[in-house]
């Protein structure tokens, strides 16, 4: 585009056409925003003709998960409760990407509660590698659209692994920044002490470009961190010499999918060949992390979703009494109801679950801090399995287990990066790396080195060619 060989409008038309064509197969969008996308593209083309200085992403189309507010667009959180809600404002992250044509709002698990994208009120999302399998969740639409070539990049959100697990299932690059790095103003909250906006891209290079634009302090988010944002593209160096990588022994020894643990160990060998110092470390608190997460996330969700009572916005059940209106307006799906029950019980007079979860969180976070005094990065699977069949009925606990390797980063507010690192039965395998808080630079360096020396991220699903 900078050389004048392609316009933003042409590029946007290409992605819109592909998105519309594949929507019946993938169901990656809840809504497509053709007019909005073309208006932005046309504006960018006009600025470029005037030789105005533009960001490297100007004119590059994107998809945005449907729990992130976009002015004038439906923002449904994949729920019937918000089916008719049109946001009156843009989330800060969307404002910062105002020069990126919005292709549409990506499908997801209802209110980001799930690891399958099966709980959407707008139908399940299919994995582009095998349409009979889940793309993971909750950012399943965001991951599937990037994998299928329907969007060059997308925004997702990660509360317990909701960017990294779908990135792993769909063979794309998923980046969860540190807690506080990207403003959540305009993100409809699930669990505010864990929620983080991040990116789904085809490469670490693309992730660096998007992160550069969306990171930074914002007074509109009380948890936003006053941290300088480094030049992320300058971190893209093909060199891990001297970097200390820790392999969590308990996790790799107990991973239920041997192809996943083997692929991660193979990646560790390649990092060692590239000059990294790889060692085994102990990271024993996986069950405890999941338990703490369940207590904290459900309690915060019960509080966050109390606002959906039919009063100020969203669906209202018509009734002559206030109490019936409240109750009748809360038309959530089964998974949301289950988590709200658990969370309400945790916060109620018969239980001290939230406090117990937060105590455990402190302990686990301290343990991770100690690990990072020994190593620069942790290398582990992004998820315990590869993509599972859509019709596979997992009980709720088994479904929550999908996030067992990703949750520690949310509990401790750490940045983490999921990358394709292999294939099993024709489906992608994902690994992840975690770094100390605000050390996105180290993740980008290691991730870039990995993608300079492997081609897993270049492979495309054949089903949607």
């Amino acid at each position: 585009m900078q050389a004048g060989r392609l316009t933003a409008t042409e590029l946007t038309e290409y992605y819109l056409e592909r998105s519309e064509r594949l929507q019946p197969t993938i169901n990656g969008y809840i809504s497509l925003t053709r007019d909005k996308a073309l208006a932005t593209a046309c504006h960018v083309d006009s600025l470029r003709r005037q030789n105005r200085e533009l960001s490297p992403l100007a004119g590059i189309p994107m998809a945005v998960k449907d729990n992130i507010a976009v002015r004038g667009a439906a923002t449904t959180c994949a729920s019937k409760v918000l089916a008719d809600y049109i946001s009156p404002y843009d989330a800060t992250a969307v404002e910062k990407l105002a020069h990126c044509p919005l292709l549409g709002k990506a499908n997801m698990d209802e209110f980001a509660m799930g690891s399958s994208s099966l709980t959407s009120a707008f139908g399940p999302v299919a994995n582009p590698w095998d349409s009979k399998r889940s793309p993971g969740g909750s950012s399943g639409g965001s991951a599937a659209l990037v994998a299928a070539g329907c969007a060059p990049f997308s925004l997702g959100t990660d509360t317990g692994g909701s960017i990294r697990q779908p990135a792993a299932f769909c063979g794309v690059t998923g980046f969860k920044p540190s807690y506080g790095r990207v403003s959540r103003r305009g993100l409809l909250p699930l669990a505010p002490s864990l929620d983080q906006i991040g990116t789904l891209t085809r490469s670490v290079e693309d992730a660096a470009l998007v992160l550069q634009e969306i990171c930074g302090y914002d007074p509109g988010d009380p948890a936003s961190a006053r941290q300088d944002v480094p030049d992320f593209s300058a971190c893209l160096v093909d060199d891990v010499s001297g970097l200390a990588l820790g392999l969590p022994r308990e996790i790799l020894e107990s991973c239920p999918d041997s192809s996943t643990s083997e692929a991660v160990e193979e990646a560790a060998r390649k990092f060692a060949q590239a000059g990294a110092k790889v060692s085994w470390v102990s990271m024993p608190y996986t069950d405890e992390s999941l338990a703490a997460y369940m207590l904290i996330a459900t309690a915060e969700a019960a509080s966050s979703l109390a606002r959906y009572d039919g009063v100020a916005y969203g669906y209202r059940h018509s009734s002559s009494t206030l109490e019936e209106m409240y109750t009748g307006s809360r038309i959530f799906g089964a998974e949301v109801r289950r988590r709200l029950m658990l969370g309400t019980y945790n916060l109620g007079p018969d239980c001290s679950g939230y406090e117990l979860g937060q105590q455990a969180r402190k302990h686990i976070s301290r343990h991770l801090e100690e690990l990072f005094s020994q190593v620069d990065l942790l290398l582990l699977p992004a998820a315990p399995y590869i993509a599972f069949p859509l019709e596979e009925e997992l009980d709720p606990l088994a479904m929550y287990y999908n996030d067992v390797y990703s949750i520690p980063a949310n509990l401790a507010g750490l940045p983490a990066l999921a990358l394709p690192c292999g294939e099993s039965r024709g489906l992608p395998i994902g690994m992840q790396m975690m770094a100390p808080r605000f050390r996105e630079d180290v993740l980008l360096r290691a991730g870039y080195t990995w993608q300079c020396r492997s081609d897993w991220h270049l492979r495309r699903p054949r089903e949607v060619e």
């Binding site: 009156p88 002559s320 289950r338």
Partner: protein, 94 residues
């Protein structure tokens, strides 16, 4: 601890969730399963300091700038009247 049907019913009422009787029974079993699972945390040593603060003190909230006008807020409401959101009558007739 064994969760009772009364506790499940009370929780559904607090959460304002319209659960039918058969759903309440199913939910009781699932809540019990979760509560049994999280018992694993009892083995961890209890921490020091406030367990409710995740990452130090939160930063200052925004400067209180109004981001939406009254008209914009009311346009989102399912029902409004005279510049206010309208809900079903709260106070019964004498």
């Amino acid at each position: 601890m064994k969760i009772t049907p009364e506790q499940v019913k009370k929780t559904a009422a607090m959460a304002k969730l319209p659960l039918a009787d058969d759903e309440l029974a199913e939910m009781a079993g699932q809540l019990q399963e979760f509560l049994d699972y999280v018992k694993v945390l009892k083995k961890l040593p209890s921490g020091t300091g406030s367990p409710l603060q995740a990452f130090g003190a939160p930063g200052p909230a925004g400067q209180g700038e109004a981001c939406l006008s009254q008209e914009e807020v009311l346009a989102l409401a399912p029902d409004s009247s005279q510049g206010m959101v309208r809900v079903p009558r709260v106070i019964a007739d004498e």
